[in-house]
Amino acid sequence: MLESYVPVLILFLIAVFIAAFVITLSALLGPRRSTPRKLAPYESGMDPVGPAIRRIPVKFYVVAMLFIVFDIEVVFFYPFALVFRQLGPAGLAAMGVFFLVLLVGFVYEWKKGALRWE
């Protein structure tokens, strides 16, 4: 049963090999002339103002959380999409409940205004 996965493995190995080869080649051959001025941070030609590490406003975290929630939901849809014909109406109902729960979450979040950015 596993034989059918061998081509995928070979493809994966080739990809890893090519990536590694290119990176080591450029690491070996590339000239390294890093002067302090070259390593200075680039902020459109001027010196950066204020500390670099600072507190990120909370809006960014809210969006990150929402993304993770709905991304996982889509991940669950993929296997379902492959076999939803064999599952028949029972599978559809189960998936429907899963989708409805998340839909409630989405509507709540929309009305709460988490999507509005200002």
């Binding site: 070996l28 051959l29 000239p31 390294r32 002339r33 001025r37 070259k38 200075a40 680039y42 030609g45």
Partner: protein
């Protein structure tokens, strides 16, 4: 270059590698998006549909110096802008070249006064000077092709060809 410098001159091997490397560099030289004044409009004209710079592999105008190989100083450099030009030049990765586009970048042009750096070669080492105020897009393309010939002659040994100075006999481009 890393390994070649250590390995030294292997005759036929390094020359072929040289041509390959130089060929690779000339045909995909990404300019830094660095327009200052009137020459920048002519440079935009050169990049747009009529005089298409994409034929020379300059499709992309990289905004950050980290990803650019060629700095086209298009326009007059004022005293307040000179340190910024120098900083951007330093922040570009190693195989880098500079084209001074226009009279103001080449020698201060018609503005011989307190505010303009008389020629950008006081700030960054320049490889090709393109004359004109502003130079026509064809003149800029001619400057770029001259730069390509110069890059094709570059040696692997890392000694960068010094910029052509007036008192040096002009190198005959074969």
């Amino acid at each position: 270059m890393g390994i070649e410098e250590k390995a030294g001159n292997l005759g036929i091997v390094t020359t072929t590698l040289e041509t390959v490397v130089n060929w690779g560099r000339t045909n995909a030289m990404w300019p830094l998006l660095f327009g200052l004044a009137c020459c920048a409009i002519e440079m935009m004209g050169a990049q747009a549909s009529n005089y298409d710079l994409s034929r020379f592999g300059m499709e992309l105008n990289r905004a950050s110096p980290r990803q650019a190989d060629l700095m086209i100083v298009a326009g007059r450099v004022s005293r307040k802008m000179a340190p910024v030009v120098r900083r951007l030049y330093d922040q570009m990765p190693e195989p880098k070249w500079v084209i001074a586009m226009g009279d103001c970048a080449a020698c201060g042009g018609i503005f011989n006064n307190y505010a303009i750096v008389q020629g950008v070669d006081e700030v960054v080492p320049v490889d090709v000077y393109v004359a004109g105020c502003p130079p026509r897009p064809e003149a800029l393309i001619d400057g770029i092709m001259m730069l390509h010939q110069k890059v094709m002659r570059e040696k692997i040994s890392g000694k960068k060809e010094s910029p052509i100075r007036i008192d040096q006999p002009l190198v005959q481009v074969k």
